[in-house]
């Protein structure tokens, strides 16, 4: 089984230390068998890079002459790129991704994005998150609909933490019929704060909501207090990441740490969402160093720490990154890039067939560009998401998840193994 081989590789260092790795190895095999059934214990983590990240400087097509011609001062020099396959290479600030790639847990999809031509951040983010490019009135998100589609195949009630959105409100990606909980700070998710004296007050509120004649308030109240109690039992305020994982300081690192914390506490999380801002580099983007490099370091360190922290639990996780659109091939007059079209997505996970760049490369020759300026899209971002929805969450109704996209299984990139 390829899975066990790769799991062994990933935990190779630990295996050397002692036999302690053995039982978890067996567990993992059992879970892997579960995974092939689709849905059980499977988790999807979605990360959104808000502001349109510059995919061409993130996964660099360093064998493209036009790349260097179009970006005289911001291109990543060929000898600085962390080469992946002789054509693409990672920005040097993504050094922490290198081991994940080598262990074949990290896959890349290039020249992907939303077919809608908008270059408005807000419209494009909404379209990406709703999963319905060009259709503004969608009120729910694709990941919520994926959970709805999952429910067509199962009866048991989801945990209150089934869908978790990091932040003060539920991101559009996770908004919809399936209850989703917004968490800005795991430690503060309680009535009266973490203060132990507040517990009786919380219980009184619980009694009240249990008594409400409104089924909506009663139902959500029950979920809320269940969630509060579940969370309290994990002692969220005192969390130590495992395996020496070090999250970068700042909101993104905090989000990743809290997602790991929730996943590892077995609270029944099946879908988690977090975002990271600050990718709109119109001015002084930088090259090997600079603004983009700083953002990428935060981004990759947060993801790498999450991966390390998750340990064996990472086996059931598929993490996908996305951004609303890419940026212009040519750098602008102020050392930055403007709003473009296609972009790059990362897919990381225990089951992922990594170490490969997926998708067709459309090329950067002027005649190959979208509207004569941007990287063209060869893979609809919904093809990437749908495969995770199908294989990781075990949902089938793609017309519900991505209406009008007419996605079929043959559209999948096969970055996840086929279900048995």
């Amino acid at each position: 089984m390829a899975i066990t081989r790769r799991a062994l590789m990933r935990n190779g260092a630990m295996a050397v230390v002692g036999t302690a790795a053995l039982p978890s190895f067996l567990t993992r095999t059992a879970l892997a068998a579960d995974a092939s059934a689709g849905g059980k214990n499977q988790r999807v983590v979605v990360l959104f890079q808000r502001g349109a990240a510059d995919g061409l400087n993130i996964v660099v097509p360093h064998a493209e002459l036009y790349y260097y011609q179009a970006r005289s001062s911001i291109a990543i020099p060929q000898n600085q790129v962390l080469d992946l396959d002789g054509f693409f290479g990672l920005h040097p600030a993504l050094a922490e991704f290198r081991p994940l790639w080598n262990q074949r847990h990290l896959a890349i999809v290039h020249a992907t994005g939303s077919p809608d031509p908008t270059r408005s951040h807000f419209d494009a983010q909404d379209y990406m998150e709703s999963g319905t490019p060009g259709y503004r009135a969608t009120v729910d998100g694709w990941l919520n609909r994926a959970l709805q589609a999952q429910d067509e195949y199962r009866r048991e009630k989801g945990s209150p933490f089934r869908a978790v959105s990091m932040g003060t409100d539920v991101a559009l990606t996770l908004r919809g019929k399936v209850p989703a909980v917004a968490l800005s700070n795991v430690g503060n998710f309680a009535v009266g704060g973490r203060n132990p004296d507040a517990a009786p007050v919380s219980e009184i509120f619980e009694t009240m909501y249990d008594d409400s004649t409104s089924s909506l308030l009663r139902g959500t109240g029950a979920e809320t207090f269940e969630a509060i109690k579940m969370l309290r039992s994990t002692d969220p305020a005192h969390y130590t990441p495992a395996y020496g994982a070090q999250y970068p300081p700042g909101p993104f690192g905090d989000s990743m740490r809290q997602i790991a914390q929730l996943l590892k506490a077995n609270l029944g999380v099946e879908a988690a969402f977090a975002d990271i801002g600050g990718w709109d580099h119109h001015v002084n983007e930088g090259n090997v160093e600079g603004q983009l490099a700083r953002s990428l370091r935060d981004f990759s360190q947060g993801i790498a720490a999450f991966w390390r922290d998750m340990g064996d639990d990472a086996e059931n996780v598929t993490l996908i990154t996305m951004s609303e659109f890419g940026r212009t091939v040519r750098q602008n007059g102020t050392g930055g890039t403007d709003h473009g079209h296609a972009n790059v997505m990362f897919v990381l996970g225990g089951q992922v067939r990594g170490g490969r760049v997926y998708g067709q490369w459309p090329g950067l020759n002027p005649e190959q560009l979208y509207q004569e300026r941007d990287l063209a899209i060869t893979t609809d971002y919904r093809q990437v998401l749908a495969e995770a929805v199908w294989k990781q969450l075990g949902a089938r109704n793609m017309n519900l998840v991505f209406p009008e996209a007419q996605l079929r299984r043959q559209h999948f990139l096969e970055y996840l193994p086929a279900l048995s």
């Binding site: 003060t168 209850p179 998710f189 009535v191 009266g192 004649t213 600079g290």
Partner: protein, 708 residues
């Protein structure tokens, strides 16, 4: 359960609760649901007129204040409604007095920009393309902002310096893996020298001593700081000490100090704060409910671009509020010509493809092509001018006929052509509405079967008239009103009657509301209390129910952000949903319960609740069961359900713990970008009062109070 029994027996043995004792022991632990009899001898079920008054105040106002149900019932509910439908006749001078010190909502956009400059004007001044105002305090604010922008640019430039270890070709010795150019990695930059530490110490001391100056001297000292120095001052103060920097200053002076740091925060916060204060304190409650309704219907996003925020006060003041109960077409015209909407939905970017402006651009581009080499990069060409459909679409889909209102994509394009030229002159300087003939698409247009003859600016008004008087619009607006005021799924017959009134009254909004209010459906018992409050409804009604004194509303505005309803912060043009399911989630309920406790226990800076006053007497700690009933009456205006009643009483079980809980309650939330607000002093509750406060908090956080 054990402690509840203990407390009850204690109260019983003191002879205080004869009635309750038998009940508590008869029902035994855990059987709290049977305690109906406990809801008090002194609490009367409201009479029919009071019940009507409560419903009217919940639906047509932001909930009752203490005693208001009785007042409205005494006056007669019908009379109260009549007066609310004619807000001009209601005296609102107390509110105006309260708001008299807020300047932002009264200023026009250009004046606002002079006083609180946006980033684009600061950059122009920095590049000497614009003069800095000479008067004070504007001069200090501009200079401070210029210095801050300059500092930021310098910082960026330093970070952009080509690393010395990298030569011109980008070659680098691979052994130098560390990035020595990164200031963070440079130990010299990390560790300040002794002299630097000493200097910082004295600077901090100076700042601290500035806090101790008398207010007027302190204000002068802050204005006389080196430009940009204000950032250092704030940084050197611990958050606890920051509010003291503003203590004793007039509101205008406080605005100025905050503007030295960030003018935008002043503009946005004050806009939202005054909006909230009006909702809370205005006697013209229906006018406010309708103003909020239209502000949501015609939603604007404050962060649309660098200048949008500066147009928001004018938008509410001139486009929305005057027409909130007036004629729909007037409202629609005012919104369509408001710079706020023209910027937000991009109409001011829209140019007719055959307009003079587009033809000139094309000719210029052709000339450039002739002059340039054929290898000239495509990306550097000027973008083509063209139609922007954004407003044309939303005008139909969201503002008038609705998504099923019978228009096609072609109608959207035609409507957008009609509206080309409607713009702002120029938005970067706070300009007003302007029709630009050069950008207008010439020729006749057809929108939804109506022919609109070539007529420049007038075409737009003709289009708005067609849309405002369309039966689809009458139905769409009537239904939206019924969803807000009656139920999530309003009876179609009611909506039809309202739509009929809409058409026969030429879109008179007050008359449409009158039809709704006079309907049987509006007063239907099954729909009473069936609407879940939005965060705005909830926060405003809680403040009103507790008769809280709001000296500083910034924290309430921040609470709305925590609850997912920032007042000017939703990007979608359709605004917020007014249906129940949108506002019931785990995070939402947790935020609301915490807010309720925080409000009642006086843990919200700038907001003071007196539970004693709410009880109408001095708190008598020996009679807390009666207090609870009185609080139920004051806050819910009707006896709570037995379960809730018992649950609140249970809070009396462990006095010490509740008091400690109330005292140490920490609320999540932020200061909305106001660094001086972080630690504003809170009113300390007396322990005896804390019990009552917790009970009040429980009632405000109860499911009953989530509904209206």
């Amino acid at each position: 359960m054990h402690s509840r029994g203990r407390i009850f027996s204690l109260l019983c043995s003191a002879g205080l609760l004869p009635g309750l004792c038998s009940l508590a022991f008869a029902s035994g632990p855990g059987a709290s649901h049977s305690g109906t009899a406990a809801s008090s001898s002194e609490q009367q079920p409201p009479n029919a007129e009071q019940a009507r008054a409560l419903h009217a105040l919940n639906r047509l106002a932001f909930g009752p204040r203490p005693g208001e149900v009785e007042q409205v019932a005494a006056m007669g509910v019908s009379r109260w409604i009549d007066s609310q439908l004619h807000p001009g006749k209601i005296d609102d001078s107390a509110l105006e007095q309260r708001l008299s010190e807020y300047r932002v909502p009264t200023m026009d956009p250009a004046t606002l920009m002079q006083n609180f400059p946006p980033g684009n004007l600061i950059r122009q001044a920095l590049n000497n393309r614009m003069a800095v105002p000479s008067g004070e305090p504007q001069h200090a604010i501009w200079e401070s902002q210029i210095a801050i922008v300059r500092q930021r640019q310098q910082l960026r430039a330093q970070q952009q310096v080509q690393p010395a270890w990298q030569d011109a070709q980008g070659q680098v010795a691979s052994t130098q893996g560390m990035q020595p150019a990164d200031a963070m990695m440079n130990p010299a930059a990390e560790t300040p020298t002794l002299a630097e530490s000493e200097q910082k110490l004295y600077a901090d001391l100076a700042n601290t001593s500035m806090v101790n100056l008398p207010p007027q001297q302190r204000y002068k000292a802050l204005l006389n700081l080196e430009p940009g120095q204000i950032q250092e001052v704030v940084r050197s103060l611990v958050p606890r000490d920051r509010p003291a920097m503003l203590a004793g200053l007039t509101p205008a002076q406080r605005e100025t100090v905050l503007a030295l740091l960030n003018p935008r925060v002043v503009v946005v916060n004050e806009t939202e704060e005054v909006r909230l204060l009006r909702d809370i304190y205005s006697e013209r409650q229906l006018q406010r409910v309708m103003t909020e309704f239209w502000l949501n219907h015609f939603n604007i996003f404050a962060n649309k671009d660098e200048v949008e925020s500066w147009y928001l006060p004018e938008f509410e003041r001139e486009a929305i509020a005057p027409h909130a109960l007036g004629k729909f077409e007037d409202l629609l015209d005012a919104v369509a010509q408001s710079p706020a909407m023209l910027v937000y939905l991009d109409n001011q970017e829209s140019v007719g493809p055959d307009s003079l402006a587009a033809l000139r651009r094309e000719r210029a581009a052709e000339y450039m092509r002739m002059m340039q080499s054929p290898q000239a990069p495509a990306a550097q060409r000027q973008p083509q001018l063209g139609i922007n459909e954004n407003y044309g679409r939303e005008l139909m889909e969201l503002h008038t006929v609705g998504v099923n209102g019978g228009y096609t994509q072609q109608d959207v394009i035609e409507a957008a052509k009609v509206l080309t030229g409607w713009g702002v002159a120029p938005p970067q300087q706070g300009g007003g509405f302007q029709f630009n003939e050069n950008r207008h698409e010439p020729g006749d247009k057809v929108v939804m079967g109506h022919k609109i003859r070539n007529g420049g600016e007038k075409e737009g008004l003709q289009l708005l008239h067609i849309l405002a008087t369309s039966p689809s619009t009458a139905y769409f607006i009537s239904r939206e009103l019924a969803v807000r005021f009656v139920s999530d799924d309003p009876p179609p017959a009611l909506v039809d009657r309202m739509a009929k009134t809409f058409l026969s009254s030429d879109g008179n909004i007050a008359k449409v509301l009158r039809t709704m209010i006079d309907s049987r459906e509006f007063w239907s018992a099954t729909d009473t209390g069936n609407k879940i409050k939005t965060p705005l409804d909830y926060v405003v009604s809680a403040v009103r129910a507790t008769n809280a004194e709001v000296a500083q509303p910034y924290r309430l505005v921040a609470e709305l952000r925590v609850m997912g309803m920032p007042l000017t912060g939703t990007q979608q043009p359709n605004g917020y949903a007014m249906t129940n399911d949108a506002w019931v989630s785990s995070a939402e309920l947790v935020s609301r319960m915490n807010f309720a406790l925080g409000l009642a226990c006086n843990r919200i800076p700038g907001v003071t609740v007196s539970v004693d006053q709410l009880l109408g007497q001095e708190g008598d700690p020996s009679a807390q069961v009666q207090q609870e009933s009185r609080l139920e009456q004051a806050i819910l205006h009707t006896p709570a359900s037995p379960g809730i009643h018992q649950a609140v009483l249970a809070s009396l079980d462990d006095t010490a713990a509740q008091t400690r809980a109330a005292a140490s309650l920490a609320l999540a939330g932020d200061a909305g970008g106001n660094p001086f607000a972080a630690g504003l002093t809170r009113t300390a509750s007396q322990p005896a009062e804390a019990q009552d406060a917790v009970m009040a908090g429980l009632l405000i956080g109860s499911p009953e109070f989530q509904r209206r």
